[in-house]
Structures are given as C-alpha cells and as structure tokens.
Amino acid sequence: MPDMSVKLAGVTLKNPVVVASGTFGFGREYSRFYDLGELGGICAKGLTLHPRTGNPAPRIAETPMGILNSVGLENPGVDVFIAEELPFLRQFDTKVIANISGNTPEEYGVMCEKLSAAGVDMIEVNISCPNVKAGGLAYGTRPELAAEVTEEAKKHANGVPVMVKLSPNVTDITEIAKAVEGAGADALSLINTIRGMRIDVNTRRPILRMNTGGLSGPAVLPVAVRMVWEVSQAVSLPILGMGGVSKGEDGAQLMLAGASAVAVGTALFADPFAPLKVRDGLADIAARQGLSAVSELTGGVKPW
C-alpha cells in the first residue's frame, strides 16, 4: 500500500482527497454515510461576514455530463459557523478548510481574523464565485484585485495557511496565479465553476432563475486538467485541483498535471461515497505503478 498522505501548504492530509466547498455543507449530512475522518480534508460551505439567503430557485440545471448551479453563497455567516458548525467538524480526524467570500478586501481580513482565532487548518479564499454580484468573481478576474485580497487575507490569517481559489472565467489563469503568489498565498485551488446557461426551448426561459450559473461535473474535467497544468508551470505554489473528479483516474490526471491534492464535489450528488472511491482509485493507481507514495504522481505528466 503506497503512502497516501500528501502535503498542501505545509498541512499534512492523510490522503489527497478533499471535498469541494459548496457540495458538502458543513459535513453533517454526509456524516450519516461514513466517518468524515476518512477524508483528507473538508472545504466547508462558503462563508460570508454576514448571513446570506442566496439566490431564488431554481438553482440547479442538469447539462450534458454536468450541472449548472446558482446557489449564490447561501450561508449562516462566519460567526454561526464558528459557534455551531466548526465544533461539529472538529470531532473528526480530518483537516478543516474554511472557505470565505467578501464584498471588500477588509471583509476577507475580518473573516480571516475570526477563523484563525477559532482554529481552522486552512483558509480557502474564494475570489471566483460566479453567482454573486459584489466581490466574488470581480476579484478573481483582475490580477491587482486578486493580489490585494490575498495580501489582506494573509495579513489577518495569523499564520494559518491561505489558499486562493481561482476562477476559470479568465483569458489567462496564470496571470492571476502569479499575482496571488506574489501577494503571499500559500496554495492555490482551481478550478471554480465555468459560467454557463441552459434554456428551456418550450418556455424560452433559462432553467436557472438567475439565468446563468456555474458549470461543474465531468464536463469540466479536461478544462481543470489543462488549467492545473498551466498554473503548475507558472508558479511554485502547491495546488488543490478540482473540476469533475468522480473516480481515481480523474484525480490522478489532476495530480499528474501538477496538483498536490484533489477535491471531489459534484460527484457527491449521485454518490455520497464518491470521495472514498476516488481515494481508493488513487491508491490502486499508485500501487499499480509501483509508487511508494501517491504524492509521486504530482507533476509527473510527460508532455509531448
């Protein structure tokens, strides 16, 4: 059995499989299916400084090998997370990664202060949510703004590693990655969802009440692999790769492209056990290839 542990921004994960923010709530629902300690880490549902009720429904539409969502960061706010959800997550032997979105750089700073004091293992800074008007994606598409938010987060994270989640909705993702690296980020996670739209031809209405949303699922895997590959060559930060992972081979592709760990999201909806299957699939691949550690996959692609 190969060593399944990996390091991400100095944090040791017992295995390379994390669940993606926004697909796992705060873990309570899926804790009915298995011990959350089986997971390498949990990226908790995205938090904002104040509670948000999110967007009107319908918030989901199925597409060829994918889904569109426009939840709009519904969450109880960072204080409720710290008081009510973090203690629950802390019962499990896994790394807890808080995910934050702000309307201003200052809001990111305030949330980092609160979360680092509360004791999370890592903070994932979301500068790429396609479903909210303020902040969110705007920070993720302009290098100077991405850098400003990263600096502010780092300044207030009190040593807790800061991982910045990048948007694929840009012309050149490496520009943003470099800006974020220059601003002191400890790791990158990518990709967030790709903006998309589906229309009901009979009613001529978009399925989503917000008209557009973010695409995820197997349809985006090749985009994620390509972007992880490009970013891994442009910066030296460790990468949490995600986008359409539903089996070990998908995760291995992202790792070969340069990811140190991978996140599973949309696959959970059909199969709550998907993250464990990805983990076991990765172990099989590593064993089959005679690796002593799964981490040897990272960056191992042999490009033509």
Partner: protein, 261 residues
C-alpha cells in the same frame, strides 16, 4: 446509517403514455426506517444522468421478505424517461427514506387535496390514515383520473370529490373552489394536507387560511444532493429565512411559506 441501497422492481404498470406505477422492494425501510407516503426516494436514473431524481412515495407497507414502496411518476425528462423503461426484476440504486412526509398524528379529521401528479403522494393518507378524511382530487382532464389511484381514496375516505380543469369528470374547475365549498359547510377539519403544482398549493393555502384551518403543503423544487448539503432546492419562508425542500420538507406549514418568493 445506510441510506443507499439496491431496490428491485416487483411491479411496473403503465397508466398512460407518460404515467407509471412502480412497486419496489425496499428492504426493511418501512419497518426500520419509517418510510411512508409523502416522503421521497432519490433514484439514480442511469449513467447518462448526473443527478438522481426525487420520486415521491405514494404508499409504503411492511411486507415479507422485503417492505414495498409504491411510486407513481410522470415522464418529465431524460431521467424519468430512463426510469419508465425499467422492467420487473431490474434493480435500482436508491437513497432513502428522504424528506418528512405529512404530519397527521393528531387525532381529528383531515382534508386531503391533490392536484395531478400531486395526488399519489396523498394516497397512503387517503387509504390508511386512522382518522376520518375527505379527499379533493384535481386533474387536467378525466382521462388523467386513473381509477387505480382514485379508487384508493373513494374506498376509504368519507367523501372523495373529483375536479377536472376541462369538466370531463366530476366538478368543472380547480380544487380550491371545491375546498372553499367544503370548508364553508364545515370548518372543523384538523388540517388540510395538500400536494400539487405551486399555484394550486398557493390557492389552497389561501382558502384554508380564510377558514382558519391549518394547512400543510408538499413543495417541489429542482434538487441536487437530496440530503441538505448542496442547498439548491431552496424554499423562501415568510420570516425571510430559506429552507430546503429535500431536508426540511418537502412538506411545510403553508403559513410559513413565502408564496411570493
């Protein structure tokens, strides 16, 4: 707690071109997990569909060797189309029981109000509720009032009123007019239990409120995970909060729902 299982189809009947009656062996989901009508099962519909489909339970009864659940569904898209092509003996990947179902524990008299494909989730209440009840069942047209379903109400309810939008069977018109007439004569019902399209639920909730009768409504929304983690099936509430149809519902107290959300 294992809520994912393989369930075998033991009966599959086509009621019309788009409506199917399916009976599943569901292990001991009724006896051990309390599966009942009004809850739903989240069913994987082939490898081509990424998302499961939530299908309401019409009736769930203990049985040997396995408990049985009756699902009555309409083909609405590719997922339910796949489901409609399954045969007796096929196994389905099922998550459940999920959702809450109606609360009819309080002794009294109940008024059941169903519209279209919202009728089946009330079937078990029509057939088995231990309290006296009246049923108001609405359909677009008489051909949609399948006797296999309506007889379950007619045989067990004190009174069963059928309404059709086009007047081809029973009363001509929507169910809320019938509900108003019934409550006008007698408002001593413990609760109205309603399932159907949202505009129908809204008007039934309004009628019940006018007569001071508590009303429970079963809401429908596009779902993702089915367990309350992905937050897509939101339902706006009057107090400004948001709840989720899969986990907090599908049945809500009508007066708590923001009907204009």
């Amino acid at each position: 707690m294992n809520i994912e299982s393989k369930c075998r189809i033991v009966e599959m009947t086509r009621l019309d071109a788009v409506t199917f009656w399916m009976v599943l062996e569901v292990g001991k989901m009724v006896e051990k997990r309390g599966l009942r009508g009004g809850q739903f099962l989240h069913i994987k519909c082939g490898d081509g569909q990424l998302l499961r489909r939530p299908i309401s339970v019409a009736c769930a009864v203990p049985d040997e060797p396995e408990d049985l659940a009756t699902l009555i569904f309409e083909v609405r898209g590719e997922g339910t189309e796949w489901l409609s092509r399954r045969k007796v003996g096929d196994e389905l990947d099922v998550m459940g029981p999920l959702g809450n179902g109606f609360d009819a524990a309080q002794p009294g008299r109940y008024l059941l109000v169903g519209g279209g494909i919202g009728v089946p989730p009330l079937m078990q209440y029509g057939e088995c509720l231990q309290w006296p009840r009246t049923a108001v069942l609405g359909f677009r047209t008489g051909a949609k009032a399948f006797p296999a379903i309506t007889s379950r109400f007619q045989d067990h309810c004190e009174q069963t009123c059928i309404c059709t939008d086009d007047g081809t069977l029973g009363r001509h018109g929507f169910v809320d007019a019938q509900v108003r007439d019934i409550l006008e004569r007698d408002r001593s019902y413990t609760a109205v239990l309603a399932c159907g399209p949202k505009p129908m639920l809204k008007s039934v909730a309004k009628a019940a409120a006018e007569f001071g009768v508590p009303c429970q409504v079963s809401m429908e929304e596009r779902m993702g995970c089915g367990v309350g983690a992905c937050l897509v099936c939101s339902c706006g509430m009057k107090d400004g909060s948001v709840r989720h149809v899969c986990k907090d519902g599908p049945v809500f107290n009508a007066e708590e729902v923001d009907w204009d959300a």
